[in-house]
Amino acid sequence: MSKPFLQIRGIRKEYGPVTAVHDVNLDVAQGEFLTFLGPSGSGKSTTLYILAGFEDPTRGDIVLNGQSLLSTPSHKRNIGMVFQRYTLFPHLSVGENIAFPLKVRRLPKAEIDAKVRDMLKLVRLEGFEDRKPAQMSGGQQQRVALARALAYDPPLLLMDEPLSALDKKLREEIQHEIRRIHQQTEVTILYVTHDQEEALRLSDRIAVFSKGVIDQIGTGPELYANPATRFVAEFIGDSDFLPCDLVTAANGRADIALAGTTVIPNVPLHGKPVVGGKAALMLRPERLRLTRSAPGGSTAVPVTVSDITFLGNNIHVATQTAKGDALAVRLPFGHEAISSLNRGDRVWLGFDPASAHVFC
């Protein structure tokens, strides 16, 4: 890739004394599906609104195809967008809604009609063109909104939590649709969500937003296996944190001391280490091994079982360390360690130090 398709360069947005976005930098490749993932107030939507032209950044620049977008008003940016709320024009039929961007571009009628048909086919709503938005379900309305946003072949499609108003089953159905449409049209998509599962399911890459900065950008597996910050570790996948002491730290690895165990060597380290200082050891429930007795030759933490929950294909065991810190483990259904396990049992949770992480 010689030159990135879309560059977000040092975008900053201040509202009076509050800084919503702190100098965000991001390159997006053509045809990429990139998700802004973060809790509400993390600056992800503001960044998207700056791209749409609804907000002006305090400073920074947005470059699309080598040209700055900032001086271009929204209606000339030629960007598609699907909103969180239903924004179909209620007085127009489905067909007229999809035709709207083409009509304001003064395309010939035959071309508009052909495009509307293509778009209805793309979102699988053939035969719905004469319906009014109010006669359609939320999911159908968002599919029409998607068709409207893609009707003018925008190089970039913005999606601001488009599925948050839908129930879980419908959401998954439309996630599949969005994936299919992305593959079919090869449009570049910037997608905003606070739902990690949605982000993992849809995206090529995920930018995790926290407090106005991007904590980490990477593919789902990268973020899961190698979270750069404690926030990312908490946001992607499940995790528990045990307080520990830093013994030594070098080259991104640390030896740590956990209460009740010996020194654990060679754990991947993130953050600014202070030798002798406090740190947090992150352990994922699905990476822990439960044994009745101390496993010989591997690292393990002694714990007391506090609760056992059946979750269908796996079983969630909540435990507590001697110091009272919570540590969960997830075992597949039918695991031999489960059969005689009871609340109050003392067990050991073993892990591979290389798969754990220490955050300072």
Partner: protein
């Protein structure tokens, strides 16, 4: 009436006697009042219009057959139409501004609007007379600025009536329009912008159609109110453009011709009811007042 609901309420703990919209009983006092003070006088007037000076429809024939009276009808419609049009033209931007401006500014504008509505009608009309007359502030300022040489005829003519009545009618168009515009999701206009619509296209293709129910309700209300307006046309209008209400007043007060006065009043009432029927037919009662 009361005993029935009491009995129901006593029979179960569920409020079975709770009021419903179909409880006709409750409207009886108001209905009685309406019959006594509105239906009966109108009926008497109707009776006099077909019995004085001689029984028959002579009054109606004269009213609808004379070019003098027809000109007054035409003028009434002209003034009402003009006032409605100008009110819409001014009212729409104001309602839009009210809907999008920060609420603390909006509440100031609302206060001004309501204050003007609560001020005595005569006082407001005389104020316009002072402003618009030959030696009034407006003419003096325009002459002072060198824009005109001699005072413009702003009062005792169509201009004066239109200005004065538009001022009085504006709140009746702004309030329902505000209600409708407030309910339009700003995201819909953002979507229109990203679809490529410039401000003008967004206004014509999205905002105006969505505001149409409020505009129609407000416009019809203003038009109907203007048709029967008396005070402002009488004070700010000229003899050349008399309105229907003035004609009725003249029949009854100066000419003591109850027959003709009653006939003119009935014509006005029929036109008003017809327009109200149009409003109900197309917009329904629930759209009244922009709801």
């Amino acid at each position: 009436m009361l005993s029935r609901t009491d009995a129901k309420a006593a029979g179960s703990k569920i409020p079975a006697g709770r009021l419903t919209l179909t409880d006709f009983d409750l409207t009886l006092p108001a209905l009685g009042l309406l019959v006594l003070f509105f239906v009966v006088p109108v009926a008497i007037l109707l009776a006099r219009s077909v019995s004085e000076p001689v029984p028959g429809f002579g009054n109606y024939a004269e009213l609808l057959g004379s070019s003098t009276y027809l000109r007054i009808f035409a003028n009434t419609f002209l003034v009402s139409g003009l006032v409605t049009f100008v009110s819409l033209l001014i009212g729409f931007p104001v309602a839009w501004a009210l809907a999008v401006m920060p609420s603390r500014f909006a509440s100031v504008v609302f206060a001004i609007l309501l204050l003007s509505m609560w001020t005595n009608l005569l006082a407001r009309t005389y104020a316009w007379m002072v402003l618009l007359q030959r030696t009034g502030v407006i003419n003096k300022v325009l002459i002072g600025l060198g824009l005109i040489d001699k005072p413009l005829p702003l009062v005792n003519n169509l201009t004066g009536v239109t200005i004065g009545m538009t001022y009085i009618m504006l709140p009746f168009i702004i309030l329902p329009l505000y209600g409708v515009i407030r309910k339009i999701d700003p995201a819909i206009l953002q979507a229109a912008a990203l679809c490529g619509a410039n401000r003008w296209q967004s206004l014509v293709r999205v905002l105006l159609p969505l505001a149409m129910p409020g505009m129609a309700a407000g416009a019809l209300m203003v038009f109907v109110m203007s048709l029967g307006y008396f005070v402002t046309p009488a004070l700010l209008g000229g003899t050349a453009n008399m309105m229907l209400a003035e004609l009725i007043a003249q029949f009854v007060q100066s000419l003591v011709n109850w027959g003709m006065g009653g006939a003119a009043a009935l014509v006005l009432l029929v036109v008003t009811l017809a327009l109200y029927a149009v409003q109900l037919r197309f917009f329904g009662t629930d759209r009244m007042g922009g709801r």
